[in-house]
Symmetry: C2
Amino acid sequence: MHILIIGAAGMIGRKFTESLIKTPLEGTTPVTRLTLADVIAPTTPTGFSGEIRTATVDLTEPSAAERLLAERPDIIVHLAAIVSGEAEADFEKGYRVNFDGTRALFETIRHANQKEGWQPRVIYASSNAVFGGNFPEVIPDDYILTPQTSYGTQKAIGELLLADYSRRGFFNGIGLRFPTICVRPGKPNRAASGFFSGIIREPLVGLDAVLPVPDSTRHWMTSPRSAVQFIRHAATLDLAKLGDRPNLSMPALSVTVGEQIEALRNVAGDKAVAHIHREPDEAVARIVEGWARAFDPQRALALGFTTETKFEDIIRAHIEDELGGHIA
Amino acid sequence: MHILIIGAAGMIGRKFTESLIKTPLEGTTPVTRLTLADVIAPTTPTGFSGEIRTATVDLTEPSAAERLLAERPDIIVHLAAIVSGEAEADFEKGYRVNFDGTRALFETIRHANQKEGWQPRVIYASSNAVFGGNFPEVIPDDYILTPQTSYGTQKAIGELLLADYSRRGFFNGIGLRFPTICVRPGKPNRAASGFFSGIIREPLVGLDAVLPVPDSTRHWMTSPRSAVQFIRHAATLDLAKLGDRPNLSMPALSVTVGEQIEALRNVAGDKAVAHIHREPDEAVARIVEGWARAFDPQRALALGFTTETKFEDIIRAHIEDELGGHIA
């Protein structure tokens, strides 16, 4: 089987690739080819027994999708996107990449499907940002998508296209609404959501971290490990079970910042917690207030998608996967 | 004030135009200019005291939107669309007209807005077809849009774009999800929904009509008169009241075919009802089963949108507006 990962240089793309190399997918034919595509050259990982190729490609360029799909992969994992902040700051770039790029990909598959019957599986990364405005404390599976960002709008449009192209039989689509990923490895970044990871990641290596929101702030989070598991599950799931709604809110943990901090104390002690410095930032607090706090993802759970059951497990996964099991 | 109607040659476009000429909009500056645009040349109505122009234009042609908007109308009523059946039969044409055409219109407004601050009101005709699949008997305002047709998908995407462009301040948008219009004037057509009008319209002029579904079939209908009133209300409503959700399910009547027939009996007697012939058609029944049966349009009602309260009134409106008050 041939898997194409678009957006392979991103955090989830890299971790999904590593996971495929380390642990074969169950319940499907072996993965013998991997194509890793991104706008910046993805690094070629070692240890894969099959054929692995990288491609530097911008889906918004004419015929880029044709070239990328020329080998007719069996599964296409579409993770490529301009992130929320950039899509809000640059309206045209956000629509060009997140909207036209996705459409170009889908259209190219459609043309090949209509010509030769090729019908790949398409795994589309959507986001909880498709929800916005005055939503309930716990968002059910049948709640309306009224995004309050251009990024959320573009992701919601992608969901609608995915559903229509799948209904038409051009491909077999599944859309996964990713929760906020925590603990994100790497350096602190300027994303408004960065502190959710920062207050765990930095103290674990003996560094200070700033908390700009109240301890009562509640958010919907899952680990990179679970995010990878979502894609793995989507790669082998019987998609007929999706019925006429191929887009799903993924499970995650609804935790407050205070609960995150107590979990950190349980795992790494008071010394770690002492690295967290409360510096309230009204602007960040206002942005975060607009984000979903909890979901009731009954459909995804019934379809076998899983996540951690307590925040301590999310911290421990980070220590295992990123810190070689050691904390400062 | 200058109003541009795109899709002016259609039934609702013509009736809205006539209404503007006959009855001035209240609570706004007088309408002194009307531009009527459509892919087929709209007829120029008489009796308008201001300036009236017609334009034959296809929004999907390069720079068509630029030319159409060159006069910077104050209100743009966007009714132009490929209908449901055609959008399903011709995938590419449906997306080209309903999706790219709408986007071209919105993009042209955005460019002008960013250049010169022009910020028109945009009234967008959406449809109940944005709902589909396993929805509840009565659909609430916050129910998810999972269309099961390409037409419904295109309309739902238009809603998302309208919301994002409005949130950004490029224009002041309002989207109206039109119910099925009944009684549609004119000849019987091949639309699957045609019988809802046919079983009223034909008997009233002494002609036979075929009923392909059971009497228990429930549907959500309003009159052409109410549909025009929706647009009139949207043209003068304080759009700040929409908050962050500019798309609204319109009010209508939830009636069964049996109730339609009894209303016809009340208005026009047994003689009219005798013209209805039951010829069950499984294919039509299956299509109609997938359509919304009732809504709870609390937001639209709170904002002052109104509809008929009993089906007899819908029949009487047809007799007054289309038959000069006379029945066969």
